[in-house]
């Protein structure tokens, strides 16, 4: 007899419920494979989001057995609990339908944290040489591989408690730009992350780095922002 998985999937919006499906257990099966099987063979009305299936696009994150995970790179064998999988939408974000969340608040906070590169030169200027081994470049590199999956945002207690908190991903992005020698946007960026809801709201619980599928450490980036903004404030470069 082939082994089955009892899969509970969140259906509807915030006030709805989990629905149980039975899916055949397969070798090397990912959680995204399970959700896709349900949508294609058991219930075509199931809504979920994915794109690349190889851990690059950051669009398939969901809550799997209580933890936020990238479902395309999460093998069922690693997370299954007594033959059961409970899959819901990401926490701390509005649910559009079923497993798909509205990522707009997440990306709006990237913009609030001045997460866009502000060039210091024009295309007519010669390209600036940045030594890869420089301290600032290495600090920028440590924070740069974020895929915007929203897992850290869903895992963060401070985001849950404080709707204005910019969140680990936006602050991690700000830290990578603070260390980018080519960027000219730091005065506005430091003011944005030093305001209420910025880096000083972080409690350093470190759920972001615990759950980050890219093994980044947003807590360390936020600590860097705390140091940098504190120094800027004491030097009179920031008004609070």
């Amino acid at each position: 007899m082939t082994e089955k998985i009892a899969v509970s999937l969140w259906r509807g919006r915030a006030q709805d419920r989990y629905q149980l499906y039975e899916v055949q257990l397969r070798e090397n099966q990912t959680v995204l494979d399970v959700v896709t099987f349900v949508q294609r063979h058991l219930d075509a009305t199931l809504a979920y989001r994915f794109a690349c299936r190889v851990g690059m696009c950051g669009s398939c994150a969901m809550t799997v057995n209580g933890r936020p995970r990238w479902t395309c790179r999460t093998h069922v064998a690693k997370v299954i609990d007594r033959g059961r999988l409970k899959i819901g939408p990401l926490e701390n974000l509005p649910v559009i339908k079923d497993l798909a969340t509205d990522m707009a608040p997440f990306f709006e906070k990237w913009q609030q944290a001045k997460g866009a590169f502000a060039p210091s030169r024009t295309r007519s200027d010669p390209i600036e040489r940045i030594p890869p081994g420089g301290a600032a470049r290495m600090a920028a590199d440590a924070a740069i591989e974020c895929i915007n999956c929203g897992i850290c945002y869903a895992a963060c207690d401070t985001v849950r408690w404080n709707a204005d908190y910019l969140g680990p991903a936006a602050l991690n992005r700000a830290w990578s730009l603070v260390n980018d020698q080519r960027d000219a946007g730091n005065p506005a960026r430091l003011a944005a992350v030093a305001a209420s809801g910025g880096c000083h709201a972080c409690h350093s619980h470190q759920s972001c780095q615990e759950h980050c599928p890219q093994a980044l450490n947003p807590t360390a980036s936020i600590a860097g922002l705390k140091r940098r903004t504190t120094l800027a404030y004491l030097r009179g470069e920031l008004k609070a």
């Binding site: 408690w161 404080n162 209420s196 910025g198 000083h200 705390k226 504190t230 800027a232 404030y233 609070a240």
Partner: protein, 109 residues
């Protein structure tokens, strides 16, 4: 919490760390040596040193504690950040008044 409150809270914490140790050492000394209230008052009354130590301690506690309570209320209660701030200012003023009153009672000659 913005950077100004963050700096104030960290600075007062750094100030309180040695002051708490002094306070605990004083308690141990007073109880171990069996000092009476009259013995203690005879040493603290008119002392600029004890008035400064405990006066500074009270100011640091009032600032540090009220910022902490403000953050807890803003995060864990339905109170808005502005209302939590107003409540914290009132709390800080009360702590300051009560603390300074106590310091004055044992240090004024």
């Amino acid at each position: 919490m913005n950077v100004r409150l963050y700096v104030l809270q960290r600075a007062t914490a750094a100030l309180m760390a040695p002051l708490v140790l002094v306070h605990v050492a004083v308690i141990f000394y007073a109880t171990r040596q069996g000092l009476t209230a009259a013995d203690i008052l005879s040493r603290t009354r008119g002392s600029v040193l004890w008035a400064s130590v405990y006066g500074l301690f009270v100011v640091a506690v009032a600032i540090h504690g009220s910022i902490g309570v403000r953050n807890i209320l803003a995060e864990w209660s339905p109170m808005s950040e502005r209302h939590a701030g107003i409540f914290a200012i009132i709390l800080g003023c009360c702590l300051l008044a009560l603390g300074l009153r106590a310091v004055a009672a044992v240090t004024l000659p």
